[in-house]
């Protein structure tokens, strides 16, 4: 099937308040910067954490087209999706701290923090690619129950080399399941560049061999992402599908919070940092007269304050009692 490209979309092509998009992107940026600080500077947090810095336009562009009821299923690099889907920053931060006020009562941690049923965040897995067949199953249920909601499944380019990807995508396409697959191609699978792991000419080309609609979108342009997602989600809600979006973006930091990412070509990093999704969107909104520098500062300050409150909330929250763990393994 033909691969469609969406890039350079204009603000007039989207039906949402661009300032809302910006605000969500800033929330993710500031949240992740705080997480990084809590790990590296303060040594407060431990364990794996995979930052979403640089990819904010993808989560926000896609999730801003969704309602609470729509399903999101994602991977361990999940903080951005959780925030974009509307989870409370307090609950999300408390999960990072392993506290019982967290999204998963502190039993999931960073890698599963985006499980919050009340927000339509159905699942976040730490095994690369495993969410892809599960997403097909969610879509199967919606189709069977004639439930006109969308299922959106996020994964990275690394996942496209797993067996679960091929089995899951094949099934979704074979059964025409209403699921939107969003591959965030950030060029690195863990510490290895995509050119050293992908045999196909592109992720999109690989996906299109499974006979479904494929869209390649500029993943650092939130307007283009929103535009592509809006159309796709409308189709999915009408129980058509699957649709595959390859969002081309860049992981501004390493694989995990401790990874300094020195294996990257400095020129590559420099080029991509020029295309920082928040920087380019901010510039555009100022140029188009939608806001000025002061407005942006106000947003930043508000978000910073909210995140400080979230950190305090997490600090002050209690741990789950160990004995309670035994009640959470099986449904009684």
């Amino acid at each position: 099937m033909e691969i469609r490209k969406v890039q350079g979309a204009s603000l007039s092509e989207i039906d949402t308040d661009p300032l809302k998009l910006l605000r969500k992107m800033v929330e993710i940026r500031k949240f992740e910067e705080k997480i990084e600080e809590l790990f590296l500077v303060k040594g407060t947090l431990i364990g794996p954490a995979h930052l979403y810095l640089g990819q904010e336009a993808v989560a926000v562009g896609i999730c801003s087209t969704l309602s609470k009821e729509d399903y999101v299923i994602t991977s361990y690099r999940c903080h951005g999706h959780a925030i974009a889907k509307g989870v409370s920053l307090k609950k999300l931060m408390a999960e990072m701290f392993g506290k019982k006020t967290g999204t998963c009562k502190g039993l999931g941690g960073s890698m599963h923090a985006a499980i919050s049923l009340e927000d339509g965040l159905v699942y976040a897995t730490a095994i690369v690619g495993s969410q892809i067949p599960i997403a097909a199953g969610l879509a199967l249920a919606n189709k069977y129950l004639n439930k006109k909601i969308a299922t959106v499944c996020f994964f990275g380019d690394g996942a496209t080399n797993t067996g679960a990807f091929h089995e899951g995508i094949n099934l979704a396409s074979l059964w025409k399941l209403p699921v939107l697959y969003v591959c965030e191609n950030n060029l690195y699978a863990e510490f290895t560049h995509i050119t050293r792991s992908l045999s196909s000419r592109s992720v999109a080309e690989r996906a299109s061999s499974y006979n479904m609609k494929v869209i390649v979108v500029d993943g650092n342009d939130v307007v283009s992402v929103y535009k592509a997602a809006k159309e796709a989600v409308t189709e999915i809600r009408n129980l058509n599908g699957p649709i595959f979006i390859e969002a081309r973006t860049y992981r501004m930091k390493g694989h995990g919070v401790y990874d300094q990412a020195k294996y990257r070509d400095p020129k590559e990093v420099e080029e991509w940092l020029k295309r920082d999704p928040i920087k380019i969107f901010k510039k555009r909104l100022i140029e188009e007269g939608i806001m000025d520098e002061k407005d942006y500062e106000r947003i930043e300050n508000e978000v910073t304050k909210e995140i400080e409150e979230a950190v305090n909330f997490a600090f002050e929250s209690e741990l789950l009692n160990f004995e309670e763990l035994y009640k959470l393994v099986y449904v009684e």
Binding site: Y71, C104, Y123, P133, I134, G137, T151, G163, G168, V329
Partner: protein, 328 residues
């Protein structure tokens, strides 16, 4: 009471539950048009339609993964994994996804799926189609493990597994598929977590699962001819495990033999032996005896395979050796 086969009992359970609950779907390789490689799902696609009985590609990861997703989305999926050996392909989905979801979501998620599979030890299927490794799953908190040994149990336990809100691994035994047994026409279920005393006795206790229950019963009948009354316990479910029934029997008999088709080391038998030690040590008046498969891959050659397998004779030999009975 009428007699039906193990396969017919399973099919009845599926059909009755599908009639009762329209959220139930079945998915797996060849389960639809072909009727299932062992005919368990025969006729179901005609009766319930293609929306509820779904033929899948040979994609075990996707079969279990889609079942999990469908369960999260409000359905009650029953996935068929044709051979237990193939469950290893889907191990991530079964053990690392389904079994962990409830816990690591802080109790938000539930995954009401049944994964039906069977092991074909004893049918000359060779090393890669005969494996039986229930302890792998027992070692994975979050999933229930069920092993029926008779048509009656197969039907009652499958119905309960389907009505359970947790992931359930339902392990059938291929060599039992054509065995016949009494199954009432009336509705019944068998609770998960309750062992059954298949034969009462006072002199020693034989604990077994799946096919080995039948071998244990044959051995017990031969013991009876010698005036020794063995009690035979069919565990029926390994998770949850009915410790009480085991302990009560050991208190009475003081002698324990455990028979299971898995490989001896870290086997179900190992775990049951330790459970007896921890809960009824003072009542033991002899060593705990294991009768299991040897630490070898399953040989193809039918004669060698027979020599490999747990049998009534092997159970009797072990009993003679351990407890000093003169049986021959």
């Amino acid at each position: 009471m009428r007699e039906i086969t193990f396969v017919e009992a399973l099919r009845e359970a599926l059909r009755e539950e599908m009639k009762r609950n329209d959220k139930i779907i079945i998915l797996g390789e060849d389960v639809g048009k072909y009727g299932g490689v062992y005919r368990v799902t025969q006729g179901l696609i005609e009766e319930f339609g293609e929306n509820r009985v779904l033929d899948t590609p040979i994609s075990e990861i996707a079969i279990v993964g889609a079942a999990i997703g469908a369960a999260l989305g409000g359905l009650k999926p029953i996935a068929e994994i044709m051979y237990m050996d193939f469950a290893m392909i889907a191990m991530d989905q079964i053990v690392t996804q389904a079994a962990k979801m409830r816990f690591m979501s802080g109790g938000q998620l539930k995954v009401p799926i049944v994964i039906r599979t069977q092991y074909s030890l004893g049918r000359a299927h060779g090393s890669q189609h005969s494996q039986f490794y229930p302890s792998w799953f027992v070692n994975s908190p979050g999933i229930k493990v069920v092993l029926p040994s008779t048509p009656y149990d197969a039907k009652g336990l499958l119905k309960s597994s389907i009505r359970d809100d947790n992931p359930v691994l339902f392990i059938e035994c291929g060599v039992l598929y054509r065995s016949k047994g009494n199954v009432p026409e009336e509705e019944y279920t068998i609770p998960l977590g309750k062992a059954e005393i298949k034969k009462r006795g006072e002199d020693l206790t034989i604990i077994a699962v799946s096919r080995c229950v039948q071998e244990a019963l044959k051995a017990a009948n031969k013991l009876e001819e010698k005036g020794i009354n063995a009690e035979v316990i069919d565990l029926r479910t390994l998770v949850p495990l009915d410790v009480e029934t085991i302990v009560n029997s050991v208190k009475k008999t003081g002698k324990v033999v455990i028979a299971s088709d898995d490989v001896k080391y870290c086997s179900i038998a190992s775990e049951i032996a330790m459970t007896v030690m921890e809960n009824a040590f003072d009542y033991l008046d002899g060593p705990i005896v294991r009768v299991t498969s040897p630490p070898l891959p399953v040989p193809f050659s039918p004669e060698l395979e027979k020599a490999y397998m747990v049998s009534d004779v092997k159970i009797l030999n072990k009993i003679e050796e351990a407890f000093g009975y003169k049986l021959s």
